[in-house]
């Protein structure tokens, strides 16, 4: 095939000046250029994302301890069956659900309320608030952990001091060492980092709503709650779905650093979640098979959730004007 084109262009070139020959060559190459430009990004993503993904699927059927010298033993579905019986697993799944739901007030409820309540604020003050509210988002998770550990320290932290002196709390709260409190603390820190970002997203969506809708609704004697319920929330629904998807898929992943730095999953697995469990199995007990099997389950589960959200978004996209 390429031989044909080459000879054709050659015979052509004899009749025409040299530029034609160059052109024919470039025509032939044109089909290749997009792939050449894509090559670095695609190769890297294939090699560092999709190759390991395939390997994780493969490793989930083997028993292995991460040592290059030790052999991998094929165990079939054994790792998956094992997962069902591991006590930490059910705790981790339960906590994953806890983080996912616990972050919703920070990613959806409060931001939506604030965005609606503070719509139409003066431009200059809006920029100041934006700059302040957004700050947690750019802070490094490790730095965030370090600061909150100090603020929430049981005896010397400013939070417990304030609770005791101002609100008359008797016993200081052991925010990270008490199993009952620890998961709330981690959820709070995860949400704290997120709340400003979500508020800005919803504020931006509010700004984009055509205010004539409100006027029209008012003409029809709708009251403020009716306007929120029947005008604003439907118009915000694409944004709400988008943030709901982000927060469902990533709440547990975002809490990883705080768990790792502040509680290491403890006390007694009280704060561990599925992501942290993958980590513990992989790099502390070196049970690569378990970790990979859990990773496969996690990947497929969250993939299904994402597909669900995307289908829902498509269904509701007529709001998008």
């Amino acid at each position: 095939m390429s031989y044909d084109t080459a000879s054709a262009s050659l015979s052509h070139a004899q009749a025409e000046p040299r530029t034609k020959e160059r052109k024919a060559l470039s025509v032939r190459l044109r089909g290749v250029w997009p792939y050449i430009y894509l090559l670095p990004a695609v190769l890297s993503i294939a090699f560092w994302v999709y190759r390991p993904l395939a390997q994780t699927f493969q490793l989930s059927f083997y028993q292995w301890n991460l040592l290059p010298t030790s052999p991998k033993t094929f165990v079939g579905w054994g790792n998956f069956e094992k997962l069902l019986t591991l006590p930490a697993m059910s705790k981790a799944l339960w906590n994953t659900l806890f983080y996912t739901i616990g972050v919703i007030p920070f990613s959806l409820i409060v931001p939506i309320a604030i965005a609606i309540a503070t719509d139409n604020i003066g431009k200059r003050s809006r920029n100041v608030y934006r700059a302040l509210i957004f700050l947690p988002m750019i802070m490094a998770p490790v730095a965030v952990s370090s600061v909150w550990r100090w603020i929430m320290h049981p005896t010397n932290g400013i939070l417990n001091q304030t609770l005791q002196s101002v609100f008359g709390l008797k016993e200081p709260i052991p925010f990270f060492t008490d199993g009952k409190w620890a998961i709330w603390s981690i959820t709070f820190i995860t949400g704290w980092k997120l709340i400003g970002f979500s508020t800005l997203i919803f504020s931006a969506a509010m700004t984009n709503i055509n205010k004539e809708y409100f006027e029209a609704a008012r003409m029809d004697r709708a009251n403020r709650w009716q306007i929120i319920r029947y005008v604003i929330l439907p118009l915000l629904s694409p944004t709400i779905l988008f943030m709901a998807m982000l927060s469902t898929l990533f709440a547990s992943e975002w809490s990883f650093t705080y768990i790792n730095v502040l509680t290491q999953g403890g006390p007694v697995n009280a704060t561990t979640n599925i992501y942290y469990l993958l980590w513990t199995y992989g790099f502390q007990t070196f049970s690569v098979g378990w970790s990979s099997a859990a990773a496969v389950v996690l990947f497929l589960g969250f993939g299904l959730i994402a597909v669900g959200f995307m289908a829902l978004t498509r269904k509701l996209s007529f709001f998008d004007d």
Partner: protein, 275 residues
């Protein structure tokens, strides 16, 4: 009713109260970090809102008890290299998607876009094994090479490139410019500020990254400042002054960038979503 069209919800004072409360919640930890970092030992446990005697002792202690300069240099090198390579690979990719219609383009684009569904923890073991087999643990290569492409950057840049007028590209092509020249002489200079703001996001992400350095580095001298901060935290349990000083140092570059460019940073974050 007269005010109906513009002021919608709460009274202006109420709006400001809500936003001030949220702003306070966001800024207080940062303020408390800096406040503590300048307090002498005797004042660290007091709840005073400003140090009575300002001191740099905490910074000195933090700087001397861990190889701080070394870790900051590592972080800077990683963040700059990563940002540079990610921008380069994604500019090329975004250009390919904008310039040509070709077989498989939507499939390739889809596969790049879908990577956000693959969490780091799902692929960490094979990548760790790969880096180990290359002998790249505790090295700059090991930290940077897995991150030379960013799906986020490709998608963002493609959105930017799409808005570039096709007529200008065609005109440059008619003048005999090659595609390479069109990209770097026509498109790049015109979109420089958009590309820069994506670059800033990439830099912040790289500087703040913790997972990957946690995995591939073991010694403080080879690790980035984030990992170093975590190690400092677990070894010096209750030295709160020095710890807050170290935390401030680790956050400083990003805070400075934010102070100067917050408008662009917020805009591109809000536009691009997370990651």
């Amino acid at each position: 009713m007269g005010n109906g069209t513009r002021g919608f919800r709460a009274a202006p004072a109420g709006k400001h109260a809500v936003l001030i409360a949220l702003g306070f919640l966001a800024v207080f930890p940062l303020y408390w970090m800096i406040n503590t970092s300048f307090k002498p030992d005797t004042e660290v446990f007091s709840s005073s809102l400003l140090p009575r005697h300002w001191t740099f002792d905490n910074y000195r202690t933090a700087w001397n008890s861990v190889p701080m300069a070394r870790m900051l240099t590592n972080s800077l090198a990683v963040a700059l290299l990563q940002t540079g390579t990610q921008l380069f690979t994604s500019i090329l990719a975004a250009f390919a998607f904008t310039r040509w219609t070709f077989k498989g383009s939507s499939l390739i684009y889809g596969l790049i876009g879908l990577t956000w569904l693959v969490p780091f923890q799902v692929i960490m073991i094979p990548n760790y094994v790969m880096i180990s087999s290359f002998g790249w643990r505790d090295s700059l290569m090991g930290l940077v090479v897995p991150n030379i492409a960013s799906a986020f950057a490709v998608l963002q840049l493609f959105n930017t490139f799409k808005s570039f007028p096709r007529a200008l590209i065609e005109a440059a092509r008619l003048d005999g410019a090659s595609d390479w020249k069109v990209l770097w002489r026509t498109i790049f200079p015109n979109l420089r500020s958009a590309i820069a703001s994506i670059g800033i996001l990439l830099f912040i992400t790289a500087w703040n990254d913790y997972f990957w350095p946690l995995l591939v580095t073991t010694k403080m001298e080879h690790s980035t400042i984030q990992k170093g901060l975590q190690m400092f935290m677990s070894s010096e349990m209750n030295l709160w002054g020095p710890l807050m000083a170290a935390t401030t140092i680790a956050s400083l570059p990003v805070l400075v960038i934010y102070l100067i460019l917050q408008r662009q940073i917020i805009d591109s974050f809000v536009k691009g979503g997370l990651r």
